[in-house]
Amino acid sequence: MNKPADLNVETFHGGCPHDCPDTCSMVFTVKDKKLISVTGNPDHPMTQGGLCVKLKDYEQRHYHPDRLLYPMKRTGPKGTKQFERITWDEALDTITTKWKKIIAEDGPQAIMPNSYLGHQGLVHGLNGGDAFFNRMGATVTERTFCGEGSCTAWLMTVGPTAGVDPESFIHSKYIVIWACNSASTNLHHWAIVKKAQAKGAKIVVIDSYASKTAKQSDWHIAPKPGTDGALAMAMMQVIIEENLQDQDYIDNYTEGFTELAERAKTRTPEWAEKITGIPAEDIRKLAREYATSQPSAIRIGVALERTYGGSQAIRAVTCLPALIGAWRHVGGGAIQFPVWEHPYKFDVMCRPDLIPEGTQVVNNLQLGRVLLGEMDLKTPIKSMMVWNTNPLTQAPETDKIAKGLEREDLFTIVADHFITDTAAYADIILPAAMGAEMEDMILSWGHLYLTYNEKCIEAPGEAISNMEIFRRLAKLMGYEEENFKWSDHECLENFVDWDASTCEGIDLDYLREHGYARLKDFGDKDVRARHAKGEFATETGKCHFMVKGAKNFVAGPFRQMYEGFQPGEDLDSLPDYVESRETPTTNPELAAKFPLNIISPKSHGFLNSCYANDTRKIKGQGEQSILLNKLDAETRDIKDGSVIKVFNGRGSFKGVAKISEDVNAGIVVATLGYWRQLNDGTVNCTSFAEFGDMGHSPTFSDNLVNVGLAL
């Protein structure tokens, strides 16, 4: 972009590659071929020049002394971090020779990919390796860490729509942030919400504990974990009982109101009070205020899906704006993931046409069970390649994963920036390039802009981009398809539907110059009311309160665009409250041993497990703490500052007790991201790998534990 006066200094546009809805447009400043600063792009309407605590010194991350610089092979027992440097030739030869042997002996399905959104690029991110593994005929891996049940619920109800523009929240009069700690995880949307609040909007935060966001709301409602569905159903009951619905909107733009009203009839506030712990009168007040304060908007947070009934709860919440006609207004409706209307060509990225018929599917939430042979797979897994993810901190049943990774007959390859907890178990480690070191476009699940990232420095040592790794592997495996020869730039030319009306007037040159572009046919945030006249993205164009014959599914991009072996079980035709598996009410036998529900939100100072190996970031975030109510502390002789252990039948971890009124009795809160190799266990040691009710969602918050003084 600009060339400042100092001839050795150049600036470039970047895009934050991390797993966050904000996808910030950034400015990289390079001097003498070195990245010297990373700042927010002041021109970008959402980023507005600001980054977050994680990214504000992103240039330093690129030069972190622990960066992986060279390929390495394991020289000691798995998990002991003993490696020695090898050449790329040796690394790639070892990998492909081993894979060819496995393919000959066991078939390609004995190999599985494992990736997620550690990088959100279209080229180097979630789906970057899918074409390669689909071509191989490897086992297909579903990746449903975060929001996939939510996607299923949203798509069933309103179809692939972006929903309300996050920037239009400035016009909202009543904002419900449902299960999201926006101040820590959706900062640039939070800034808009705060401006709306200053203009007089009422901010309601629904969250089971007093998060940083909840504390700044006008009204914090704290249902017991996993009971949000009951709250949403009772809101419907009040709206319909008191005739607060928008009948004209319902008659014209929705389906299944009669059946929904019948379902909601018995879901009274008194019924919901017993389940949620929220007084019936508060539920009535919430429903009345929500229905009568237009425009009203709901931010559906990722955490809402994290219990067994979480996705049914999201279906119920997604019905609310149509019930009251909130969609009629600018700043009215709901937002889930606007990615649905971005013009990305997932079929070109993933090449599902190359997948052999009958290919088996595993899910990365159940990695421990997969590796330990508990899944009754047709072809057991003999090799796994991991990139853009760190399952040993992020996936549930962590102790099982560690045990699985110790298998001597498992050939593990990890591409990453550091020797993560997972990389510590690799047979071969590949050094991966970081943000400013590679060209990409960064997908967004939180706004309506395309975001470009220019390569502006060389990767250190012999690190290379993820896509370059797959190009080299494809060559050695003998894969001749044209896509394996595309440069990163050519990938971008092919992965985006540049002919779509949303891309009118936008191309890669434009993006390089400006860093971002608002999707073209979305209209202005000050006038856009996307579903004022229905026009939902469903087959009927209506909002579906009821879906007859619905079957469970995982959205394509989270399963390499494969349609085989979808979950497929019958789903309830209507939304409802569905009980969690693990609460004192629903599982009293388990609760007799483990009486507390744990919630594990993201750490403010880490991005999942990224940055949790950085001394300064750890100092800022503080050591692993465990919030608990004084009633639960006193009965266990726990004092503020005591080192305590959180445990259940699946595992345990330690942290420092923080006695706080921010959590109600019966709940403990421990944030996610801390590395296993730097701590005594991590939160996911206790979590359960069973899926939620839809989209194979995780159930991180459907988890009973106990706590006690650490011995």
């Binding site: 020049g49 605590v53 504000k56 705060k194 200053a198 700044q216």
Partner: protein, 101 residues
Amino acid sequence: MTTLVTDNCQRCRFTECVTACPVSAFHAGEDMLFINPDVCVDCGACIPKCPVQAIYEDLDLPDELEEWIDINERRAKKLPIITKKESAYEGAEDRKKTLGF
């Protein structure tokens, strides 16, 4: 984890910093500003805006300024939020020079 305003702001109060804050964490005292730590997201956007280097991330705070952590927390919560730039404190430019900036 927070960012805070320290004594260099006293009788300067240039207020450029508040324009960079995405979350309205600044509160206006008569002769200086304070940051509410419950609201601050520690993004650091305000730090380079201060012409007298009064703003610190707590991790970088010199020992002799430690007391300002408590002062910010206490004072911010009693004072009105400031989100728009105001004119600097009378004599701010002289004070800036005295401080060596």
